[in-house]
Amino acid sequence: MASKQTAYVDRNTHWEIEQFLYKEAEYLDDRRLDDWLELLDEEIDYKIPVRVSQEGRTSDFLDTYHMYETYETLSDRITRRAGEYAWSERPPSRTRHFVSNVRVEPGDGEDEYEVNSNLLLYVSKGDSGDYDTLSAKREDVIVNTDDGWKIRKRTAYLDITTIPLDAMNYFL
């Protein structure tokens, strides 16, 4: 029996969305967070669920989130970080978002796409040689609007259960 066929989108759309995700990563890593915010739809639903290692249950995610954000709370987090008193980011972390395995399928609405990608985040802080990494699968809903591509929904499923960083202080 044939497995479910992947519904491919045209090459150009795929390419544009891929470039959009790379641009997004660049904004995050270059700390252009106001520019990053511009890439989000105002209705954005942004979540990083908490993963657990469990047997005997169907889901290995808890009903709680490392981030459970709206446009407003994301915007506030960015404003805070730009301020003088966000001590946890003084000096700022250095991050590198590696985005790969981008898969694009048509979404529910017109100009809407379901985009899956893999993410590897590298983080180093301060003057030590230590660094941390987080790996995740991202499920996005990305839309083509009059103002360009926007992320309407993002769920980042971490591969790790216990966060090895002192705080989950990064946008994935």
């Binding site: 990083i48 908490v50 657990v52 290692s53 469990q54 047997e55 005997g56 249950r57 808890l62 009903d63 709680t64 989130y65 490392h66 981030m67 459970y68 954000e69 709206t70 407003e72 709370t73 915007s75 506030d76 987090r77 404003t79 805070r80 301020g83 003088e84 008193y85 966000a86 001590w87 946890s88 259960t161 216990t162 966060i163 090895p164 960083l165 002192d166 705080a167 989950m168 202080n169």
Partner: protein, 432 residues
């Protein structure tokens, strides 16, 4: 012998604490001191490991740790909470492999010995061939059961038989714990935990939360920039504050008027039914409400008002719970939960949860700036020892107080820090 030397140092430190209110900073990084802490504190005191609401149904279990030792906290088929060492009684293989799940039985993957969720050994494979019948299952016993007990739904383990019963250990702090965890007729449920490994000594955060309003003005100054996450007015308000220590714990209380303003009206009756009468009386007659607190050795709790939801008039109340598991002298695992009233409206639960995530969870803006302090103190305490000051308002006299414990009427006071450290040095020097 190293142990005697450290114990003597701790005994001296207790004396210096009483006299000057200072402590040597190597208690936050010394490996030798951490060795002694494991025996004198984590293997002797009552250690909270979770909450009954995390295992609501028969067979639900969670795995939790004290130091490196893992324990299964399970609800058996009768609905009773049980706690077992996660170790097969044959050759010690761990029988539980997930962090949580649901199971009627635990089977050791090594040789297949099987235990039910009351811990009883119910199966030994190839019994006749292997033991020729010369083994008595009852005599072998089941999974090893440590001392455990619960209070306000919190599950505690104590690895010593000599330690006093849990109720005695918690003593007068029970009154204050009830404010946070016995708040409605149906009790509280904990969402989470978020688990984060931080490069911090386990004590700093607990001391901070029990006692330190002073840091809020500086550390948490960025709250003013995040109105959708935390309200801006809490730092500026000049409501009278009290620092109270009772039993193993300490907390801050504020004269806020009424607590009920920050909870949906449909919850008020249930809150009045749930809270013990004495708690309610103090709150309603004096307008005192508890804020942040914790107890020795590793527990933090905070009920606070967080941001005003869109379209509503007042801030909402939320409670978070945190426990530290030391990994080494300079590294700890933090468990963070959002505690909500079981029978609260779904909309309120969701908003409280969202506020927890924004402010106090693994990505919380309060937690990350706090963590930065605690990690930095830990780092700074390595190397040459210096004395840290916990002498604020050391000479201030307690005020009359209509509830358990010793109370100080002040915004800034380190009496609760000294209360934690006193217990710490007493335990470490064997003077407790």
């Amino acid at each position: 012998m190293a142990v005697d030397r450290i114990q003597n140092q701790m005994s001296d430190a207790l004396e210096v604490l009483e006299q000057d209110g200072t402590v040597p900073d190597d208690i936050y990084s010394s490996n030798e001191i951490f060795e002694l802490e494991q025996d004198r504190i984590f293997r002797r005191k009552w250690i909270p490991v979770g909450h009954e609401s995390e295992i609501p149904d028969e067979g639900d279990y969670i795995v939790r740790y004290i130091l490196e030792e893992s324990f299964i906290v399970v609800r058996d088929e009768e609905g009773e909470v049980q706690v077992f060492a996660n170790e097969c009684c044959h050759q010690g293989r761990q029988v539980c492999h997930g962090e949580m799940g649901n199971a009627s039985h635990f089977r050791c993957p090594y040789h297949g010995w099987t235990f039910d969720n009351t811990g009883e050994l119910v199966g030994i494979p190839n019994l006749e061939d292997a033991y020729q019948g010369n083994i008595d299952k009852d005599e072998v016993g089941g999974l090893r059961q440590p001392r455990f007990d619960t209070y306000d739904g919190l599950v505690f383990i104590c690895l010593s038989e000599e330690t006093e019963p849990l109720e005695d250990f918690l003593g007068d702090f029970k009154f204050y714990l009830d404010y946070h965890l016995k708040r409605t007729s149906e009790g509280m449920e904990l969402l989470g935990p978020h688990r984060v490994i931080k490069d911090t000594n386990w004590k700093i955060g607990v001391i901070n939360n029990m006692s330190d309003h002073y840091h809020s003005l500086v550390t948490h100054r960025s709250f003013a920039d995040v109105p959708s996450i935390l309200p801006t007015d809490r730092l500026e308000e000049d409501e009278p504050r009290y620092h109270i220590h009772a039993g193993p714990g300490g907390l801050e209380m504020a004269e806020t008027g009424s607590w009920f303003d920050i909870y949906p009206e449909e919850m008020h009756d249930s809150m009045r039914e749930g809270l013990p009468e004495e708690n309610l009386k103090l709150m309603e007659e004096k307008g005192y409400t508890p804020i942040n607190g914790g107890f020795f050795p590793n527990f933090i709790i905070n009920t606070t008002a967080v941001a005003t939801p869109e379209g509503e008039d007042s801030a909402i109340g939320m409670t978070y719970v945190m426990m530290y598991r030391p990994i080494s002298a300079t590294q700890s695992e933090a468990y963070l939960w959002c505690a909500v009233e079981k029978n609260a409206p779904e909309k309120y639960k969701e908003r409280a949860h969202q506020a927890f995530v924004g402010a106090f969870g693994s990505s919380g803006v309060a937690d990350q700036d706090d963590a930065k302090n605690w990690m930095s103190v830990t780092k700074g305490s390595k190397g040459t020892t210096m004395d840290l000051r916990y002498d604020m308002q050391k000479e201030t006299k307690p005020v009359d107080w209509d509830a358990p414990g010793t109370a100080y009427h002040s915004w800034f006071n380190e009496a609760n820090a000294r209360h934690f450290l006193r217990q710490y040095f007493e335990a470490m020097s064997g003077e407790d």
